[in-house]
């Protein structure tokens, strides 16, 4: 992540004297970014504006149509214990999965960077969970976590551990969802972090080792700092996607038991789609968007300040 542009912008080339070239340069500067912005705007503007409208209304299908209710949906949210619960749960979930995945991702990327036997085999195999359809994977895990027939409880039985209610009890149900997420999305971390590690030149390491630095020192003072911007980027992307977890919740727990695994995105789905309380669902989506945005803004600002980002 390097929001501050690198030098080499317009006019930085001393040999670039002619105005013709400058014009071409400026033309290109806009030709490169405008199509993207126009593409996004033309598609995003209507849905965004329309969704703001929906969030301020109650939409009854049929003759009712959109009825303006002002900020009612937002006020309802404050008094809705399920919303606050889902909100907190989402943060807990996202925090746990991204934290665990990041830790494992760095660990495994670190190992895969070494000269291990079967390096390429591990690289391809570790990628597999990401490729499988999330819906199908949820069903496989549902079988694995089954109380009576599931392999997991069966294996635990070998060690004399009593069967665990993986999906039927609050705490373990959330744990199961985290487990599945870690299984499926750690590859994303491994892959991207490994790419960042690999882009560090070998000489840098060797030079450090010659200077007598320990492996740990090299890792914390060379590898990690250099890969840091990429790590931040993938963490951001994972956080965004983890907030949107849906398939596994839908198949494995249905948000239950009770509201034990009802994440915000799932609650929005229930209210917006199932109950067709679209105004309320959309209002919750906006709150989620705004809070994540604020979080990100402060996070990047903080990272800039401590100099972690260039």
């Amino acid at each position: 992540m390097k929001p501050s542009p690198t030098p080499g912008g317009v006019g930085d080339f001393s040999f670039w004297g002619e105005t013709m070239a400058l014009q071409a340069e400026r033309r290109m500067k806009y030709a490169m970014i405008l199509p993207v912005l126009i593409f996004i705007l033309s598609l995003a503007i209507f849905p965004l504006v329309f969704s703001i409208l929906i969030s301020l209304s109650q939409w009854t299908p049929g003759t009712g149509g959109l009825r303006f209710v002002g900020l009612k949906n937002f006020i309802d949210m404050v008094r809705d214990p399920r919303f606050t619960h889902a909100f907190g749960l989402s943060f807990l979930y996202v925090g746990s999965v991204v934290g665990i995945e990041l830790g494992l991702g760095i660990l495994l990327a670190m190992i895969l960077q070494k000269d291990v036997v079967g390096k390429n085999f591990f690289r391809v195999t570790y990628m597999l969970p990401m490729l499988l359809s999330p819906v199908a994977i949820s069903y496989v895990w549902k079988m694995i976590l089954d109380y009576n027939r599931g392999p997991l409880n069966y294996f635990l039985g070998w060690f004399g551990i009593a069967p665990v209610e993986w999906l039927g009890k609050g705490g373990t149900a959330l744990l199961s969802l985290i487990l599945v997420d870690v299984w499926q999305w750690t590859p994303f971390m491994i892959f991207t972090i490994l790419a960042a590690f690999e882009s560090i030149s070998e000489e840098l390491y060797e030079a450090a080792l010659v200077d007598g630095a320990s492996h740990a020192h090299v890792f914390f003072h060379i590898t990690l700092p250099v890969a840091f911007p990429v790590i931040i980027t993938v963490v951001l992307l994972r956080v965004i996607d983890a907030f949107k977890v849906f398939d596994t919740v839908y198949v494995l727990t249905g948000g239950g038991p009770g509201t034990a695994t009802e994440t915000l995105n799932f609650y929005i789905y229930l209210k917006g789609f199932r109950a067709f309380n679209l105004g309320y669902g959309t209002a919750m989506s906006w709150v989620q968007l705004v809070i994540i945005s604020i979080m990100f803004t402060y996070l990047t600002r903080f990272l800039h300040r401590i100099g972690a980002l260039r």
Binding site: P61, L167, G168, T253, G255, P257, R274, A275
Partner: protein, 489 residues
């Protein structure tokens, strides 16, 4: 490399063009149905037949169960012409009527070929109606009842052993919920069919989002519904007629407590059971009893079944007491008091108000629900339809082909129709937002099942949330819809 990319781009372009080529002559009727083979399958097959007869085309648009209702909502909210016919749940009738998305069919039903007056049971007619008009036509008659292993429960040795242990002789099948729990406990956790595996006494669904709330309804209805004397009457279950929830009434709470007791005494361990488990445990011979929709019947004659001809059918067990919400007291009865619930009510055909060809749609629906075609479908294990016409009792050829004996088929159909026309039968609730009410109920039900809260506390929470939904949708409007649903207006 560049050539490969170019080739891919061109190829994709060609595909895009090809996919947008329109269909030829004849009119196309678009039917929204649940993903097959069950439910949508017969529409595809008979759609082809009907298409050949009339020169038109039936296009079936399939959606997963959970996505059907959202799809209809979207189409109704935006007045999209996406669908001409809906094969949708009867319980969604109030929503569909409320949105003005479906048309009344009363005039069409005067057609003598339908034999609507003579051949259709009163319980079905009641389900097809809303506020005095007929909007949907059931092609699948849903209600929950008791399935039991005739060979196992009827075994004289087991009956004697049971008497020794519990001090009384059980009925085959059990008649009350208390008896059912005892029998299930007796048959739980040992190998009663000598196949080397441990079997269960009873199976049911307990996971949130897996239709679990339906499975609890046959347990609460006997304690909540105040008996009536005339059929077809509307058992009042969910709300009092003024929309006061009955979900936290002593009767309902007792029913849930019994449901939980059954889980502890008569079922396999674990709280992650879903409907697929119920059907499969029954047809694979792993369980002695279940309360479920009729599908276990046809499925017990499927290739995979280990219990062909061994399943018996009966009314869901009743109780000898009920909570009278009008007087606010428990009432004991001499006789067993039954209150079967039409969970989901059944799949029904609706014609949308946005269609350009209502008459053509009717022609197809008429073909689908005709006595001959429907008789074939209800006997087919791949249809998922339960019998609903009186004439299905006579027309047994398709059943015999599927491997049933005539007597067995008659027993099955008779039980289904008896439940349908039972004086205390409860028609599953059809008011706007019913899906939301039930989702909330299921949420609190699973809290009670997992033991995190007492049943009373969980149900009190549920009642509070139900009231909030009613307030949001407008209490007066909801009361009016509910009274229309009950047939009081």
């Amino acid at each position: 490399m560049r050539k490969t990319v170019l080739a891919i781009v061109v190829l994709c372009g060609v595909f895009l063009l090809a996919s947008s080529v329109a269909w030829g002559e004849g009119k196309t009727i678009k039917v929204l149905a649940m993903t097959g083979p069950w439910v949508s399958g017969p529409v595809k097959v008979h759609g082809e037949e009907w298409g050949k007869m009339t020169g038109n085309r039936v296009e079936v648009i399939e959606a997963d169960f959970a996505d059907l209702f959202p799809k209809m909502q979207q189409a109704a909210a935006t007045r999209s012409k996406a669908f001409d016919i809906l094969l949708a749940g009867n319980i969604w009738m109030a929503d569909l009527v409320g949105w003005g998305y479906v048309i009344p069919l009363d005039d069409y039903l005067k057609d003598p070929e339908v034999q609507y007056e003579t051949d259709v049971p009163d319980g079905i007619k009641l389900k097809n109606m809303f506020g005095g008009k007929t909007y949907g036509l059931i092609c699948d008659n849903d209600n929950m009842y008791l399935f039991y292993r005739k060979d196992v429960l009827g075994n004289p040795d087991y009956r004697a052993k049971f008497k020794e242990k519990y001090g009384y002789e059980y009925n085959v099948p059990p008649k009350t919920i208390d008896e059912l729990i005892d029998v299930a406990e007796f048959f739980n956790g040992w190998d009663w069919d000598n196949d080397g595996e441990i079997e269960y006494g009873f199976v049911r669904s307990t996971k949130r989002g897996a239709q679990t709330y339906f499975y609890s309804l046959p347990w609460v209805a006997p304690y909540v519904v105040v008996p009536r004397d005339k059929a077809p009457a509307q058992g009042i279950l969910y709300f009092q007629p003024d929309m006061t929830p009955l979900v936290n009434s002593p009767g309902w709470v007792k029913g849930i407590e019994k449901f939980i007791e059954m889980g502890k005494r008569g079922c396999g361990p674990g709280l992650d059971w879903v409907r697929g488990d119920v059907i499969n445990e029954m047809i694979l011979g792993h369980a002695a009893m279940a309360i479920d929709w009729g599908d276990i019947g046809p499925n017990s004659h499927d290739v995979q079944s280990k219990v062909k001809g061994l399943i018996g059918y009966a009314l869901p067990p009743g109780a000898k007491e009920y909570w009278d919400w009008q007087k606010g007291e428990w009432v004991k009865t001499e006789e067993v008091h039954y209150a079967p619930v039409h969970c989901f009510n059944g799949w029904s055909f609706y014609i949308t108000s946005t269609t350009d060809y209502p008459d053509l749609c009717w022609d197809f629906v008429k073909y689908m629900i005709s006595p001959e075609v429907s008789a074939k479908d209800v006997a087919n294990p791949f249809s998922g339809y339960q019998p609903w016409r009186k004439s299905h009792m006579q027309n047994l050829e398709a059943w015999v082909q599927a491997g049933w004996t005539e007597e067995e088929a008659r027993e099955y159909i008779a039980n289904t129709l008896a439940v349908t026309d039972h004086p205390n039968a409860v028609i599953d609730i059809r008011i706007p937002g019913s899906a939301e009410y039930m989702d909330v109920y299921e949420l609190h039900l699973t809290v009670a099942l997992s033991g995190e809260k007492s049943v009373q506390d969980a149900m009190n929470d549920c009642a509070a949330e139900w009231n909030a939904i009613t307030e949001r949708l407008g209490k007066d409007a909801q009361t009016k819809f509910y009274r229309q649903h009950l047939g009081l207006e």
